[in-house]
């Protein structure tokens, strides 16, 4: 066997060849900027003129009530989206893939379109639907039940209904898509044998589908944790900008923009970003260890 051939067959070399692009991209486009970002969070940055300020930004952050509001909002939003955006799309995906549903293609397409519509337009459409004017769709709905119109986007719980609906409108189809492709990886013979054993639909879901779709579920949870914590666009769309009444729609990334980029305080912005990163990492590591996703690697 020639040397080249040996290399081609080597199971020792292959994994390193496969992951090489990732390692390179990690070093060049991630590690370097991230380290710069960490350094920046300890600096005041003013057009090429940088001064080291130590922990000042972090100390200020924990006294900043807007920042605390932003963190609480983001965490709350993350939990609510996890509660809503995992089970519902999963059930819909199972239902969609069952033999029961007719005209599947049509529903899938319709559910997918919202994720494609331009942010500007969908934000405007939702703002109008939830407008406090009497004629807005939501207020007409209230009128139908003999309720007085309300200013949806000015109080927290009504505004959050709008926010969560917007989130579900945009992302249900996408999350369903993840689950649908996860379902495809399940060996159909398992259902056939379950049928032979006389399993009910629920038993099949509980004992076949749920365990086997776990990798996909973990995936969706992991991306949803970060997406939930880093939510900004939905809030920006709904309030046509980064300011909401009493900051009911302020999120961590929104705050990062507000104090960091709109005010040119990039050092402070980096500190805000670091806090977001730490929260997201902690939640995800705990979640991945708990679900045993990391374990497989170590064994």
């Amino acid at each position: 066997m020639s040397k080249v051939k040996k290399l081609l067959f080597s199971q020792k070399v292959a994994p390193f060849v496969f992951v090489l692009p990732f390692v390179l991209s990690l070093l060049i486009f991630w590690a370097y900027p991230l380290i710069s970002g960490v350094i920046m969070s300890f600096q005041d940055i003013n057009f090429g003129n940088r001064t080291f300020v130590g922990l000042d930004h972090y100390q200020k952050l924990f006294k900043d009530k807007f920042f605390i509001t932003a963190v609480l909002n983001s965490v709350e939003y993350m939990f609510l989206t996890l509660v809503l955006m995992i089970p519902i799309p999963l059930l819909l995906a199972v239902l969609m893939e069952s033999r029961l549903t007719k005209a599947k293609g049509v529903w899938k397409v319709i559910m997918y379109i919202p994720a494609l519509t331009s942010v500007v337009i969908s934000g405007m459409l939702f703002r109008m639907m939830f407008s406090e004017a009497d004629g807005s769709q939501m207020n007409q709905l209230l009128a139908f039940f003999n309720q007085a119109p309300i200013a949806w986007l000015k109080t927290k719980w009504t505004a959050w209904i709008a926010l969560l609906l917007l989130c579900m409108w945009r992302w249900t189809g996408v999350n369903m898509l993840y689950f649908v492709s996860g379902l495809k990886a399940i060996d159909t013979s398992l259902y056939e044998s379950a049928d032979i054993d006389g399993a009910t639909a629920w038993q099949k879901f509980r004992y076949v589908t749920l365990p086997l779709i776990k990798p996909t579920t973990i995936y969706v949870i992991t991306i949803s944790v970060y997406a939930g914590l880093a939510m900004f666009l939905e809030s920006f769309m709904l309030w046509n900008g980064n300011s909401s009444p009493k900051n009911i729609g302020l999120t961590i990334v929104g705050y990062l923009y507000k104090r960091g980029i709109e005010k040119n305080d990039l050092g402070y912005a980096c500190a805000v970003g670091m806090v977001l990163m730490v929260i997201a990492l902690i939640i995800n590591i705990v979640q991945l260890v708990a679900t045993g996703t990391f374990k497989k690697e170590e064994s």
Partner: protein, 296 residues
């Protein structure tokens, strides 16, 4: 997979009821989902100020509908056009090219990275997987300035490569492939090795075909991400002729008044190519394991 197990007769009628219920759920859901879209679509046939003033009322009065907005878009609106239609189609083309290139390159790279991470046991494996998760948890905003300086130094500014390269190893795509491959049987690899396949041959000829559903869904999602992405392309591109559709459409919104007419028509029309990508790839979601390719 959700059939009943009672006697054949009740089974059949139960099945019918269940089918109506299941389909009904999607019908109702889709009516709600489609409502804003239909309203937006109808609004695109009206002068922008009507939407601004009347809000989002579904108005089936076809007599007030015009094709004016689309005429502006296609440049047949005469001297009245507020935006150069040539510009619109340039943005459109740029977005399309950028999206297609991004999808093809990202999927290929991420597939192989995930393959390496999942199919072998090697040192650093756990660490690298941890890094995949870690990259998913860092807000882009803090990387923005250093990355911009870096891309400038590398001479990639104003180049498509500058937009695509930093996002090429998309952590979420790698992670998805990894999760998907974990549920596939590894025995296949050993069988192929006995048949004399190289490690790289296996990854292409054996695993790739059965990873098709994952490819399809990642293609759809990558395309969506790239199509909607604006922040980074905007920082990299300097030449107006390279702008993407999202950048272009957003220039229609200004503190000095919004060009609602074109915005609505332009956005509605902008859904089409990305929807086509979806339609094409979703057929591969039907294949996969059910084809029985793996059972051997």
């Amino acid at each position: 997979m959700a059939a009943n197990t009672a006697s054949p007769k009740t089974m059949e009628s139960n099945h019918k009821v269940a089918s109506v219920v299941a389909t009904g759920i999607f019908v109702i859901l889709c009516i709600f989902i489609a409502f804003p879209l239909v309203a937006g679509l109808l609004a695109s046939f009206r002068p922008g100020r009507e939407l601004v003033q009347n809000g989002l009322a579904i108005n089936w009065d076809f007599s007030t509908m015009t094709l004016d907005n689309y005429k502006y878009l296609f440049g047949v609106g005469g001297g009245n056009s507020k935006v150069d239609s040539a510009k619109y189609f340039m943005w459109y083309k740029n977005s399309l090219v950028l999206t297609i290139l991004t999808v093809i390159l990202t999927l290929l790279v991420c597939y192989f990275v995930a393959y390496g991470l999942t199919m072998y046991k090697f040192r650093l494996q756990g660490f690298l997987f941890f890094m995949v998760i870690a990259t998913m948890c860092v807000p882009f905003e803090i990387l923005m300035l250093p990355l911009y300086q870096e891309v400038t130094t590398l001479g990639l500014i104003d180049k498509m490569a500058g937009v695509i390269l930093p996002g090429l190893c998309g952590a979420s795509t790698i992670f998805f492939f990894r999760q998907y491959m974990q549920s596939l049987p590894k025995e296949l690899l050993d069988a192929a090795r006995i048949d004399g396949c190289t490690e790289y041959g296996i990854s292409v000829r054996i695993m790739m075909p059965i990873t098709k559903p994952a490819f399809a869904s990642m293609a759809i999602l990558c395309a969506m991400g790239s199509w909607n992405n604006m922040l980074w392309p905007l920082l990299v591109f300097r030449d107006t002729s390279k702008f993407t559709l999202q950048i272009g459409l957003n220039t229609l919104l200004t503190p000095y008044g919004n060009n609602y007419d074109l915005l609505i028509a332009g956005s509605m029309f902008g859904i089409i190519p990305i929807l086509l990508i979806y339609l094409i790839f979703q057929r591969y979601l039907i294949d996969g394991m059910t084809a029985g390719a793996v059972k051997g």
